[in-house]
Amino acid sequence: MKKQINSCPNQTEKLKLVSMLANKAIMAIKNGTIKKRNLVWLELTGCSGNIISLLDAANPGFKNLATQMVNIIFDNSLMVAEGQAAMEKLFAITADDYILVVEGAIASKDNGLYNIIGQFNGQPITAYRAINELGPKASYVIAMGACASDGGISAGRPNPSGSLSVQSILNRKVIKLPGCPCHPDWLTGTLSYILLYGQPELDNKDRPTMFYSTLIHDVCPRRPYFDQGIFAEKLGDKSCMFKIGCRGPVTPVDCPVRKWNQHVNWPIGDDSPCIGCAQFGFPDRMEPFISYNTTREV
């Protein structure tokens, strides 16, 4: 591996944070100082991208999370039970303590008929009904990904299903982890923190500050190019992508440090601009994702 010239603690410590928290939680559960919590995962109006993203988690991986930190009561992509039996598990948990993770927006038009997540006693259960029944009773609600946090792609213009964010349905604290998809570390870290200490510090839009506090642009490895006015003209150029529409300057999240696919690379590292997927307003307000005729010198 290339020797890290940059030993800035903002970079090195941030990367260690999630495994540190998760290992601490796992140890505390083993020692009996804290308990495993029940986890309900509702996959609503979206693309399942967030559960797929979580399955790619590393150090700790998904298996550690599912076996050593929480009891997954319901997740329609992963659970063994199906049909009526699955729905019975889902609704039975409301009598108990559980943390609710929601991915996907909530289709609200025509009483939510655009998204039916299962049948219960012969009745179709809409995403709209599920969130209304499970949201208020959960000990924590985590909106994972762009759609759950802010409507995202599901609520993109012209939004035919009337999709809404979790917060626009629930009148309670909803922790938001925007991103399309959400990084597995952002969820694992938040969940570990909740198990250990309760609600993490949130910003004024309810995003955990441990992940969402620094603008991409402020720690971007291409920042020296920006400062010198050396701008990419097309995808694939190795300089700053400000002139082709980079959203790094309005997106406060730790991608430059954390990177993706088990910390391997990230969009800007692969010469394509940030499209602001982890900022509210994505995708409509982050468009156009790329612009070619922007004025360079005035």
Binding site: P9, K243, G245, C246, G248, P249, T295, E297
Partner: protein, 146 residues
Amino acid sequence: MSEQHFYDKDFNKTINDINDTIDNLYLTEDCYEKNKLLNNLRKQIANITMMMQNNQNYSKNNIEPVTQNDPRVFTPEELSTYTGKNGNPAYVAVNGVVYDMTNVAAWGGATHFGLTPGKDLSGVFASCHDGQPILSTLPVVGVMAP
């Protein structure tokens, strides 16, 4: 308020900042702090370079007299040509003042949260950034016609 006046003011301020940074560099022993200061210094020098270039281009193109005592006045039609595209700078009016967004980081590709330049955006600015100290950091190019 002339363009030259802005230039002198920014220039002097940056020179002062550079002197402050150098003073601090003498004092600090912490290596992180030192790196931060050196970074600042580099940024400040880049600012000066940019200002000098702008000034040169400005006098070269001689779009209007450099020493002009009144601010440039824009009509809405004039403003609408400054879209940040095809060689035109990106100007946005807020509360009667016209700002140059061409090189403002948050306006990458000359767009910002679905907004485009060449317009008066006072209303959206108030609804999105009320109370935030943003306008004072933006370069001013003129005022809107009353």
